[in-house]
Amino acid sequence: MNANPSKSDPGREFPRLANIGLSGILVTFSDVLSEPANRAALAFRARLGTESWAGVEETTTSLTSVYVRFDPSHLSHATLGKALTALIESEDWFASSLPQKRRLWRIPTAYGGSFGPQLVEAAALAQMSTSQAISQISSSRLRVLTIGFAPGQPYLGTLPDAWDIPRQSGLSAQIPACALAVAIRQLVLFTAQTPTGWRHIAQTGFRGFRPESETPFALRPGDEVMFPQVSEEVFASILAGERGENGGADWEDIK
């Protein structure tokens, strides 16, 4: 983490505007991931939502930036660029508070063994015992930094410094859906079986994407998530579908 994100790129000022295709502008708050830069992106997008400018068709965040898709036949690049610049300058987005209407989720999790075959390896890289690893991760309150790669799939951060471990150089053959994997101080909660370079440390019964449902996307950027450890018995009942469509998870509004 870098407390002063612009340090890594001294020639360039942040936030920075760039065109994306014919109908998009990207507002980048930092070229490296930091908590303030992610908070800035979430807060800035939330503000764009309340401004609801005519011609803006969609907004989204990545880890440290905000993408604005618009209709250039009704809103010119110059007009939107000026409006974005004015909004950027209207406050210190790196210091702004997180948006409202976020939720805190608690997702029951089975760590290690067959549920997390790479927990031992990951803990060793983080230079701690597996029980210390479980204790640290299961007690961390993490934020959905962004959702991407696959529908509804969250990148969660940030874990303590010790977890600044690299991805594997090669890809794991397959990681199951609802698996929890770790790298670079982040967790990914996979929504579908996929090959990955992240290390598989635990398993949940939580589906981030439910295409058949009225509410197909469970998590939103900015939501917070904890992964408390549960016994094999409890986890078996989750897998058996006895604890609801959220895989035993519950949530509350963040006040």
Partner: protein, 345 residues
């Protein structure tokens, strides 16, 4: 008139498509929808209906279909050998099919994606505001033999049959590219080499994107493997870890960690989608001002298509003429479209 289209035989990748689901990028879902957007507009113009109506996209090869009632159809996109009860059907034209007649659509003779439109559109169930099968995300289901695809009411059933000139967007060419947020990560020399290189569409590709082969060194940036994942849009030209470009299509992931050298303008994207393996493609950077002037709005596209339409003449010799161009160009089997590789690691 409404009813259904019965699917007797189906190529490996038939899917119902429309313009997809804009607005879900924040949830990691790309827009999806028809690979060749211009084909949607052509079919809508031929049938005199809303371009948002759902159509059947046929990747590489079509199938055999039967209408439960009289139905108007139009065939657009990659030309495929098509017949009704063994009488040839004209491509890029609207025609009326009688109840019980069998429509057979074979392999693409040029390009990748052919489209079967019906008057009234397909009335399959909507999910998240669209009928599109998003194959990567698992929204919707593949079209299989034995299925009955419901058809909406056709408000223009009595409209005379029309035809459009057969466009050639199936032979590659020069694609116009806009600079993007990561273009500055490539050196001027690399950008010049990119513009000077002739690329060939490889067999790797699907509705997520297509891989391009070329001769020469890999395209590299500094820090290529350590840049932060950033949003991705259809048209982005992504340089993967081994320095080989992929051009992204409607089902691309919403974020990716590989640098994008630029973005193909929307009007040229159908050329990418329709480039069969072996097709040659080049890139030329243009400014946003130029692209805004030259790219047509959907309304302008509809106006241009209406102007270009002519009545379909039912002269067998004429129909033979319409089909004759199909002898030009290579044949693609379509199986290569099935390669479903992870492009983003």
């Amino acid at each position: 008139m409404s009813g259904s289209l019965i699917v007797h035989q189906a190529g490996p990748t038939l899917s119902v498509q429309d313009f997809g689901r804009p607005g879900y990028m924040a949830f990691g879902l790309s827009q999806g929808g028809a690979a060749d957007r211009l084909a949607l507009a052509e079919g809508a113009a031929l049938l005199g209906q809303n371009p948002e109506f759902a159509v059947l996209e046929m990747a590489g090869v079509g199938g055999t279909f039967q209408a439960s009632q009289d139905v108007r159809i139009a065939l657009t996109g990659a030309p495929m050998a098509a017949s009704v009860d063994d009488q040839p059907l004209a491509w890029n034209a609207s025609q009326t099919i009688r109840a019980g007649q069998r429509i057979s659509i074979g392999a693409a003779m040029k390009g990748n994606y052919g489209y079967l439109h019906v008057g009234g559109g397909f009335a399959t169930p909507q999910q998240l505001g669209s009928r599109s099968h998003h194959i990567v995300a698992g929204i919707g289901s593949p079209i299989k033999p034995g299925m009955n695809l419901p058809i909406g009411a056709d408000a223009n059933f009595d409209q005379p049959d029309q035809r459009l000139p057969i466009p050639d967007r199936f032979s590659g060419g020069t694609l116009h590219v806009l600079p993007s947020a990561q273009t500055h990560r490539f050196s001027k020399a690399e950008i010049a080499r990119f513009e000077a290189t002739e690329f060939v569409r490889t067999p790797r590709g699907n509705r997520q994107g297509v891989q391009l082969g070329f001769e020469g060194a890999a395209f590299a940036t500094e820090q290529q493997l350590s840049i932060l994942s950033e949003i991705m849009v259809a048209g982005d030209i992504q340089m993967t870890g081994d320095g080989i470009p992929f051009v992204l299509l409607p089902e691309c992931q919403t974020t990716g960690g590989y640098p994008r050298i630029g973005t193909v303008v929307p009007d040229d994207l159908p050329l990418v989608a329709q480039a069969a393996p072996g097709t040659r493609l080049r890139f030329r950077f243009v400014t946003i001002e130029t692209a805004l002037e030259t790219n047509r709005s959907p309304a302008q596209v509809q106006t241009d298509l209406k102007r270009a339409m002519q009545p379909l003449i039912r002269d067998p010799r004429e129909i033979r003429d319409l089909l004759s161009y199909q002898l030009i160009g290579g044949v693609t089997a379509g199986a290569e479209l099935e390669t479903s590789d992870d492009q983003n690691g």
